[in-house]
């Protein structure tokens, strides 16, 4: 095949920044996702602190109402699309191929494209602060507040185009993980032998590919209204703002499960490991995950109980919403069942998981409180709802993500995080979180509306707002403690070993950090928790510590790895340029789209697995593949050691 290499030499470098720019390795992409998303998480957190500062006392004037509106819009949008979702994606990327015994994801270059597009969307969205003001109509962007008639600036256009770009990134990633999980499982790993985290990733990806097209359409309608004068949300022409709400929440509710299902998956990995027991009722946990994912399509109107859908619709959605509590409750009981009679190792990862369950119980119960449409008439759009979503998304998702970080950090870096600092981090987070968000229940029941930049002392909301602000800053401190922990760990030599937690799933069977090709030999899976069962099946694994998969197989394997590529990066860059063009210049739109299209063409003509002969990785992989099974493990350890030397 005549490759474009005549024009464009295929990248070969793995070193330095250039190595990261052209990488297609799922582990590197996972780390990129994690680091980028954590930075956005801190940006969103700073926005939250600005808001809490403004609300610490009545009638503060730290920010203007307009800036405050931009703050809460960007806080919500950032946390959902730029922090929690991509932090989940970081784990998908790093862990899923390892858990299912694969060399990489199904489409490595598409995976790189997902990351770069996500980064482009994040940069684009946040650049709005410097280009005429951030979006200011809430993360839900209700029309007609977002139409040109009521919102003239560029902010909403940034929001629309930013979400479209992030939608492309999320869709590409979700398709990738569906195919990966369906098609790249190790031999013998049937669906019911898949780790729970892998299951929840599959469900999340399915929800994503079904939910995102809906918001894409809604955003297109809004964009056309704003840019081309269509009438979808122009009420004087008969346009109906309720249509926006339906489209938004048909997407928005599954989106909530997109945020929480990976968290449930992480917790379902951490609890059994540190209880030294299998997950209690594995099939039931999977089934309730499936039920939650699909009931999610029948409950969205509970976000709209007060828009006047009529009593019959409200009653119907009350019942479906309450029904969600059943599979959720079942999961919680199964988690407690997992710990029951276990031998619980209460380290940082486990503490965050236990904290997750406790906070999620509170968030779930306050959710049941306003699943009742009539009770919700007194709670909708008050701080009670703010408390609820933070108990679910912070007490839920973020706690689980921290748990996942403490759990998998040794696998990702080869280094253990400090347990002492980890426990301080947990204590600060737990206390700060409850201090910040529990009082919001009181504020809501006392009638404090959401999204107000100020309040009067006469309303009687002073005390709890002040307490809440204290808690918020405590969370801020806890993040600094966490960063300190990471920084400290990164400076010490590798000390984790391959399997520091006596893990259950395949990722613990290989070295930490794993070699580029993950498994020198694709494992054969016989049971659920295969690695654990291998270890305890009577015949002790010969070289548990040395790394490398032990399951022998007669099949001769030729390690082939995806080739590096420039084009995912260029395709994403084109999208970014085109998005700016949508606002400032048609020329940029054309240039950006041309760049993207050219990159996609070049990409599809570029063979997936071709390596230039000088590619060091290719040589390495070929060398490993040629070794006899016994010798591979040692060679990998050697290579890893020397690659670390090279880095310094």
């Amino acid at each position: 095949m005549v490759s474009i290499s005549s024009v464009f030499e295929r990248p070969t470098t793995y070193k330095g920044i250039a190595g990261w720019l052209v990488t297609v390795d799922h582990k590197r992409i996972g780390i990129l996702y994690g680091v980028t998303a954590f930075i956005f998480f801190m940006v969103g957190g700073l926005e939250a602190l600005v808001m809490r500062w403004q609300l610490a006392r009545p009638e503060m004037t730290a920010v203007t109402p307009e800036v405050y509106n931009q703050m809460f819009t960007m806080h919500g949008t950032t946390m959902i699309f730029l922090a929690i979702m991509p932090l989940g994606a970081a784990f998908f990327n790093f862990i899923i191929p390892l858990q299912i015994g694969a060399r990489d994801v199904a489409f490595p270059r598409l995976n790189a494209f997902s990351y770069w597009t996500f980064l482009a969307g994040g940069i684009f969205l946040n650049s709005s602060w410097f280009l005429g003001g951030a979006p200011n109509a809430g993360w839900f962007g209700y029309a007609p507040q977002t139409t040109k008639l009521f919102n003239l600036g560029y902010g909403i256009d940034f929001w629309i185009m930013g979400l479209q770009i992030l939608g492309i990134a999320s869709l590409a990633a979700a398709f990738n993980f569906i195919v990966t999980i369906v098609n790249l499982r190790a031999p013998g790993m049937s669906l019911m032998k898949m780790p729970v985290f892998t299951w929840m990733t599959l469900l999340t990806s399915i929800l994503l590919v079904l939910a995102f097209p809906v918001i894409t359409v809604a955003l297109i309608l809004l964009l056309m209204d704003r840019s081309y004068g269509t009438l979808f949300f122009t009420t004087s022409a008969g346009g109906d703002p309720i249509l926006w709400q339906h489209l938004f929440w048909v997407f928005g509710h599954p989106e909530v499960y997109i945020l929480i299902l990976p968290a449930m998956g992480i917790v379902s990995e951490v609890l059994p490991t540190f209880s030294k027991k299998p997950l209690f009722g594995y099939p039931v946990v999977i089934l309730s995950g499936i039920i939650i994912a699909f009931l999610g399509w029948a409950v969205w109107s509970h976000h709209m109980f007060t828009v006047g859908l009529g009593p019959i619709a409200n009653a119907a959605f009350t019942i479906t919403t309450m029904a969600i509590a059943i599979p959720t409750g079942v999961k919680i009981f199964n988690w407690i069942g997992t710990m029951w009679k276990g031998s619980l190792v209460l380290n940082s990862a486990m503490l965050f998981s236990i904290g997750f369950i406790l906070m999620f119980i509170i968030g779930g119960l306050s959710g049941v409180m306003h699943s009742s449409a009539s009770s919700d008439a007194q709670q909708q759009d008050t701080y009670f709802i703010v408390a609820h979503i933070h108990y679910v998304l912070f007490g839920g998702s973020i706690f689980a993500i921290f748990s996942g970080i403490y759990y998998w950090f040794p696998k990702m870096t080869g280094k253990l995080l400090s347990e002492t600092i980890g426990k301080i981090h947990f204590a600060l987070t737990f206390a700060g979180f409850n201090l910040a968000f529990f009082p919001m229940h009181f504020l809501g029941l006392d009638g404090m509306p959401r999204r107000v930049y100020s309040y009067e002392s006469a309303m009687g909301w002073d005390l709890w707002n002040f307490v809440s602000t204290l808690g918020a800053f405590m969370i801020g401190v806890s993040i600094l403690v966490f960063l300190h922990n990471v920084a400290k760990s990164m400076r010490k030599p590798n000390d984790a070993g391959n399997d520091p937690w006596n893990g259950r799933t395949l990722e613990w069977s290989i070295s930490s950090p794993p070699p580029v090709y993950n498994f020198a030999h694709i494992p054969q899976v016989k049971t659920l928790d295969d690695w654990w069962n291998t270890k305890y099946s009577g015949k002790k694994p010969l070289r548990k510590v040395a790394g490398g998969s032990e399951q022998p197989s007669g099949e001769a394997v030729h390690i082939e790895l995806p080739g590096l590529s420039y084009f995912p990066l260029f395709a994403s860059l084109g999208l970014l340029i085109a998005a700016y063009g949508m606002m400032f210049s048609l020329v940029l739109v054309v240039l950006g789209m041309l760049l993207t299209m050219a990159s996609v063409y070049a990409w599809s003509l570029e063979p997936a697995e071709e390596h230039s002969p000088s590619d060091p990785l290719s040589l390495e992989a070929k060398e490993i593949a040629s070794l006899p099974l016994d010798a591979r493990t040692d060679r990998i350890a050697e290579l890893l050691k020397s690659s670390q030397g090279r880095k310094k």
Binding site: P65, E66, N69, A137, Y142, P144, Q145, F150, G239, P241, S275, K276, K277, P278, F280, G281, Y282, P283, V284, T306, V307, G308, P311, A315, T318, I319, A325, I326, G329, N334, I336, G337, M339, W340, S343, L344, V345, I354, I357, L358, I361, L365, S366, V368, S372, A373, S374, S375, A377, Q378, Q380, D381, T382, L445, D446, G447, P449, S454, M459, G460
Partner: protein, 345 residues
């Protein structure tokens, strides 16, 4: 060991007691609190919430307590490296804890659905009807049968059902008087229904609850429940034509025309409908989305520079006196206009 468990259980109980104490403590002092309902609508919702709250609390104590107990009881003993029993599940137990939440949910679902229909159906459909229109950022109350249009202050007779048609002229707002009834959104192009009833004469705070733009936080209103006679007096006053100005108010009334205020504000039958109807402005206790007390000092500040009193308001953005330097008012002109406004009893 046992004493340690005891202390931890005690801690849990204390936390819960504190929670309940806090819940009841915060109920009293806020004028917007959803506790201490003052009308039958809000009272039903409050009863419902308290029922759900207790159900939730029981569930929390059982499940959360169970979790804490499990964690404390089964934590790894120092030096213990043995494997616990490997239990994979227990079918009957799992069926039991699937059914248990269903039962709890049925208990709260029935009164919830009852509440939904109670909220949607007026107990007295022929009673006084008011059309409420949300504007950025103030509320208009139109008593169509009585030929009265007012703003930011909804007068109702106490002990009487009042039917409200909730509409919007621009973006989505939400009408909420927590002491009297649950909220409902004001959606442009739709007409939503809500009914209210106040047990006693009094003043009840309300606020827009759906984010509606820059001055969302400053879009409040009050519901004033009058005695039956008081309400009749109020109606009679509101129906009367505006007072004829005298003294300084005469020049104020001329400025009201020449400065273009009339383009948005109606007095009697002339004027626009973009801003609040000012025919009986001086009879209202508050203005500017009910955030400012209707005093001379506040009025002078407001008419001089509305933006400083309520950021984002439409008047400072649109009225030529604020946008066109040639049209700006002198302090004297302001005081004349305020005199005129204060004469509109």
């Amino acid at each position: 060991m046992i004493s340690k468990y005891f202390i931890q259980k005690l801690l849990v109980v204390c936390c819960l007691a504190a929670t309940i104490g806090l819940l009841s403590a915060c109920a009293s002092d806020s004028p917007m609190s959803t506790f201490g309902a003052q009308g039958p609508g809000a009272a039903q919702l409050e009863d419902l919430f308290i029922l759900i709250f207790w159900a939730a609390l029981v569930v929390f104590v059982i499940v959360g307590g169970g979790l804490v107990f499990t964690v404390v009881r089964f934590r790894q003993k120092p030096g213990d490296t043995s494997l616990p029993p490997q239990i994979h599940g227990h079918r009957n137990l799992e069926i039991a804890w699937t059914i248990a939440p269903i039962l709890v949910l049925i208990v709260i679902a029935i009164p919830s659905i009852d509440g939904i229909f109670a909220l949607a159906n007026s107990p007295d459909e022929d009673s006084l009807t008011v059309t409420v229109t949300g504007h950025q950022w103030w509320w208009e109350f139109d008593y169509e049968d009585e030929d009265i249009v007012t703003a930011n202050e909804l007068h109702i007779p106490a002990n009487t059902v009042v039917n409200l048609n909730i509409e919007s002229s621009d973006v989505i707002h939400s009408f909420w008087v927590p002491k009297l009834q649950g909220k409902i959104d004001a959606v442009p192009g739709h007409s939503n229904f809500l009914w209210l009833e106040a047990d006693e004469p009094g003043t009840y705070l309300g606020q827009c609850l759906e984010f509606c733009g820059e001055a969302h936080a400053n879009m409040r209103f009050v519901v004033i429940a009058d005695s039956l006679e008081g309400f009749e007096d109020w109606k009679a006053n509101q129906r009367a034509p505006a007072n004829t100005p005298s003294g300084r108010a005469i020049s104020g009334s001329q400025l009201f025309l020449s400065k273009g205020c009339i383009a948005c504000h109606k007095i009697d039958s002339t004027g626009g409908t973009i801003g609040p109807n000012l025919t009986h402005f001086a009879s209202r206790g508050t203005f500017a989305g009910s955030i400012l007390e209707n005093t001379r000092g506040n009025l002078i500040k407001w008419v001089t520079d509305p933006e400083s009193m309520k950021a984002g308001n439409q008047m400072s953005a649109q009225a030529p006196v604020y946008t066109n330097p040639d049209m700006a008012m002198t302090p004297e002109e302001v005081s004349h206009i305020v005199a005129y406004l204060q004469s509109l009893k």
